[in-house]
């Protein structure tokens, strides 16, 4: 197979000049991408880079606005997932898309079961499945029920199903994100085996280690454009991370001067975690100290465990091991209400799913946390609630018609401000802000950044997560770096610059340069 590849370097799948726009957003602009048979090609990029749009264009979920797709140098039209399937393009997603209640064999053959006399021939199906599983070295029994298999095996079965149809191009969309390292190795073995048979694989993952372990080439996207295409041996991790994150040049001298004032004051940390963990599939045990008046950034790629870390402090994910001290006292936090009683606040990453109560009014969304803290009987009176709502709408300059407007009809930035108001109203000492500026217009972004600095100067301790490096460098006094679900380092103020952070995120750098 390798021989053939070297003889014919022309790619089997070629996407040229792909463009795709959604109302108000240009998701892809003039993106080229190519895939050879028998290679594993990593598609990398941060949130909003356009990876998933590109994949959806390729699999026919979205129709592209411009560009062409060539297979074996012949242009093809892919208008629906069925078309993609006909061209030999199969996809395996992060969540196993199989039926847990059916047997392994059925999951492999559902929809194209071998039949005799019009009825499904189970013997034949089980035998063919056994053959297929053995061929791909998947250790599962064809008659076992799928949910009795481990997630890794299920993922491998999903791959086997995809391959079993005449598949030439396989897209693996984060298949490894919920697996442990042994399981990942087994998936990799399978991927290598498929590569040997000439299948071209597009591999999407957030784990850098995995990219370097298994891939041949990398294409990096950023902000809907292709940054470049590289052979794996020619691109160091550091370069990769730099290319993924890019550089935003903004002048923020004004913020810098404010930041200087922010310094830890207390000796006793507000929050101290010793070996805290919410389970191996979420975040590995970590130590952490956070002081009053301090903004600590949590840097890392998407899926690196930064959200899981803060969730374990807040009790949103229950900690299974380790110790948590609040103001020096050992505390157990079992649920968010516990955390709130200890003056914590948590602005979740996913505003729509975990944040807003869409049909309720701005007023109700603002007071809900305080009301929950007070309990059922001590109701915040209407007048009081209106006073609070008006106060915070003014303070954060929330743009809403009135306080009775349902929050769902506000813009993203204003929704985020309402949720900030909700937490500020509880007067927290420790705030967790997970991506508070995502999907928000530039003006609001700066406002929120300023607000964060002000809050810290008032003596609140703030955990700040953002995908935008510059934003964090500007605001944070310290930064915790996460990689592959582990805390891998802490950077003091003196080290807060792009190259150091990116180097730490990339990590594991031997001597590629």
């Amino acid at each position: 197979m390798n021989m053939i590849n070297q003889n014919s370097p022309s790619p089997a799948l070629n996407m040229i000049g792909i463009g795709k726009s959604f109302p108000g957003v240009r998701a892809l602009h003039n993106v080229d991408f190519n895939l050879r048979s028998g290679e594993i090609h990593a598609l990398m990029g941060e949130n909003g880079a356009g990876k998933s749009t590109l994949i959806k264009v390729l699999t026919g979920v979205y129709a592209m606005d411009e560009g062409t797709v060539l297979i074996d140098n012949a242009p093809v039209v892919i208008k629906s997932p069925k078309d993609a399937h006909k061209q030999g393009i199969s996809t395996v997603y992060q969540e196993v898309n199989l039926c847990p209640n059916l047997s392994v064999a059925e999951n492999l053959f559902l929809g194209r079961e071998p039949r005799s006399l019009g009825l499904i021939d189970w013997r034949k199906m089980n035998m063919q499945s056994a053959d297929l599983l053995r061929e791909l070295n998947i250790s599962a029994s064809p008659t076992a029920q799928l949910d009795s298999c481990s997630i890794a095996i299920q993922q491998m079965i999903a791959i086997a199903r995809a391959v079993n149809t005449k598949c030439r191009f396989l897209i693996l969309d984060e298949p490894t994100s919920s697996l442990d390292s042994d399981e990942v190795k087994r998936i990799f073995a399978l991927m290598r085996q498929l590569k040997e048979t000439g299948v071209g694989i597009i591999f999407i993952t957030h784990f850098l280690e995995q990219v370097y372990e298994v891939c041949d080439r990398i294409t990096v996207l950023r902000n809907g454009e292709r940054v470049g295409e590289y052979d794996i041996c020619n691109l160091s991790r550091l370069e990769l991370v730099t290319k993924m994150m890019g550089k935003e040049i903004e002048t923020l001298s004004e913020l810098r001067s404010e930041k200087e004032k922010v310094k830890p004051e207390d000796e006793i940390p507000f929050v101290e975690a010793n070996g805290l963990s919410s389970g191996p599939s979420k975040v590995a045990p970590f130590d952490l100290k956070m002081y009053k008046g301090e903004i600590v950034g949590f840097a890392g790629l998407l899926g690196s465990g930064r959200s899981e870390l803060v969730r374990s402090i807040y009790g949103a994910d229950k900690a299974v091991r380790g110790q948590l001290l609040i103001k020096g006292k050992s505390t157990r936090i079992n649920n968010p209400l516990n955390a709130m009683k200890h003056s914590m606040a948590y602005l979740p990453e996913d505003r729509k799913e975990d944040g807003i109560l869409s049909e309720l009014s701005v007023r109700e969304n603002i007071i809900i946390a305080l009301q929950a803290k007070r309990g059922l009987l001590r109701r915040i009176s209407r007048a009081e609630a209106e006073k609070y709502a008006d106060e915070y709408i003014k303070l954060l300059s929330i743009k809403t018609a009135n306080i009775e407007t349902p929050i769902k009809s506000l813009s993203g930035g204003n929704q985020q401000k309402v949720i900030l108001a909700r937490w500020l109203l509880t007067n927290p000492e420790f705030m967790i802000l997970d991506e508070p500026t995502r999907g928000i217009d530039v003006g609001t972004k700066t406002e929120i950044q300023k607000l964060i600095l002000t809050l810290a100067s008032e003596g609140k301790s703030i955990a700040f997560i953002s995908s935008e490096m510059d934003e964090m460098i500007r605001t944070c006094s310290r930064m915790v770096v996460m990689r592959d679900r582990q805390k891998v380092g802490e950077l003091g103020e003196e080290n807060l610059d792009h190259s150091t952070i990116i180097r730490t995120i990339a990590g594991g750098e031997k001597s590629n340069e």
Binding site: I120, D131, S139, P142, A144
Partner: protein
């Protein structure tokens, strides 16, 4: 390149540790429960002849119509939907048949297509609303229940007896089973028999077993119930499958209504009240998961037999009030629903549910091997 190796028995892939599937456990519990109850009744109530063949077969004869309804529910429950209109449809069919025969003078043969048509009509409308309009199946079929119940009294608000000779001859027919008889004390033979209704029910059961196991439609039902999104991605037409399931359930309810009228030949406004509950509890006790995707028609048969047995045994305990069998059946339903919720909770790996689940599994795995072999399919592959 990968070369296909000739298949040899020695080269079997290493098999992951076999675990009993949920279907397996639920079925084992049900079958064990039925035989335990039956054997216990045989010992406890010697005078009521539970050891006789005829008594055993009467369990089915008396509940053939419920079996039909329960099979219909098995189908819709497996797709993750529900149909609670079946009892009222049964009542409607019986009233329509009685009115046709007694007041309109139709020929008995016409009652068959009309019964089926009524069932299918309900199935089609409800299926459309559930599958294509995506309305909660419970609300849709609750409306169906009230609609059918109301239609009964629109058609005829009073009791209508059936006197048609042809129909009564169908109703009274018995098919004796050769070699299965016991001698009565006075020397006559008590031969076990099946009613035509029971035979129809058994035929439908067999057809359904084959359809569920061996046709694309049957497997699509399970796939849709297991995970609709996955099923969609795997090329199953989820909406159509749900629609078909409801139509099939309606059809079976129509047949069930016909069989019920054979069993109790009169049209009565109260006919079929609460049968949907009997049908649901039979399915659930028979191992059908309310969350969808799990269950077997055979299990439903045992669910019906358990219900039938309870109804027969309770009076023997000296409890004469008619309400007790209902309470006991509901208690069984409760236990099984809670058991199922434990099964679902076990997926989370932690917490009480999972520990309970592990214990249950451990218990069942600890059965003597011989006992186990009866219930578990052999999982070996024949040589090529």
């Amino acid at each position: 390149m990968n070369i296909k190796l000739p298949f040899t028995k020695n080269a079997l892939p290493p098999v992951t540790r076999k675990r009993i599937s949920n279907t397996g456990i639920l079925l084992i519990i049900t079958v064990t429960l039925f035989f335990t109850l039956y054997i216990a009744s045989t010992i406890l109530f010697k005078s009521s002849n539970f050891a006789k063949y005829s008594v055993f077969f009467n369990l089915l004869n008396n509940k053939a119509h419920i079996l039909l309804l329960a099979l219909g529910l098995t189908v819709v429950l497996i797709t993750g939907s529900i149909d609670i209109s079946v009892g009222s449809v049964t009542g409607l069919v019986s009233m329509v048949i009685a009115t046709m025969l007694t007041q309109k003078g139709f020929d008995a043969i016409w009652t068959i297509p009309v019964s089926l048509a009524i069932g299918i009509a309900f199935g089609v409308v409800q299926g459309f609303l559930v599958a294509y309009m995506e309305i909660q199946p419970f609300i849709v079929t609750l409306s169906g229940l009230f609609f059918a119940r109301g239609m009964i009294s629109v058609i005829n608000p009073v009791s209508v007896p059936i006197t048609d000779k042809t129909f009564m001859s169908w109703s009274g027919a018995k098919v004796y089973i050769p070699f299965l008889f016991n001698e009565r004390k006075n020397g006559t033979l008590d031969i076990a028999y099946l009613t035509p209704a029971a035979i129809v029910a058994i035929l439908v059961l067999i057809l359904l077993i084959i359809a569920m196991k061996k046709t694309k439609f049957g497997r699509a039902l399970y796939a849709v119930g297991g995970n609709p999104q996955s099923a969609l991605l795997m090329g199953v037409n989820v909406r159509r499958t749900k629609f078909q399931a409801h139509v099939l359930c309606g059809l079976l309810a129509g047949i069930g209504g016909f069989l019920f009228t054979l069993f109790a030949p009169s049209g009565n406004p109260g006919n079929g009240v609460g049968y949907e509950i009997d049908a649901i509890s039979s399915s659930v006790i028979g191992g059908v998961m309310l969350s969808g995707g799990v269950g077997l028609p055979v299990g439903t048969l045992f669910g019906v037999l358990i219900n039938s047995l309870i109804e027969r045994v309770v009076p023997l305990l000296g409890i004469t009030e008619a309400s007790w069998p209902r309470i006991i059946t509901s208690a069984f339903l409760f236990v099984f629903i809670v058991l199922q919720s434990i099964f679902i909770g076990a997926g989370n790996k932690k917490g009480v549910s999972a520990i309970l689940m592990q214990k249950i599994k451990a218990r069942i795995s600890a059965f003597p091997k011989r006992f186990k072999r009866i219930f578990q399919r052999k999982k070996t592959y024949p040589d090529k």
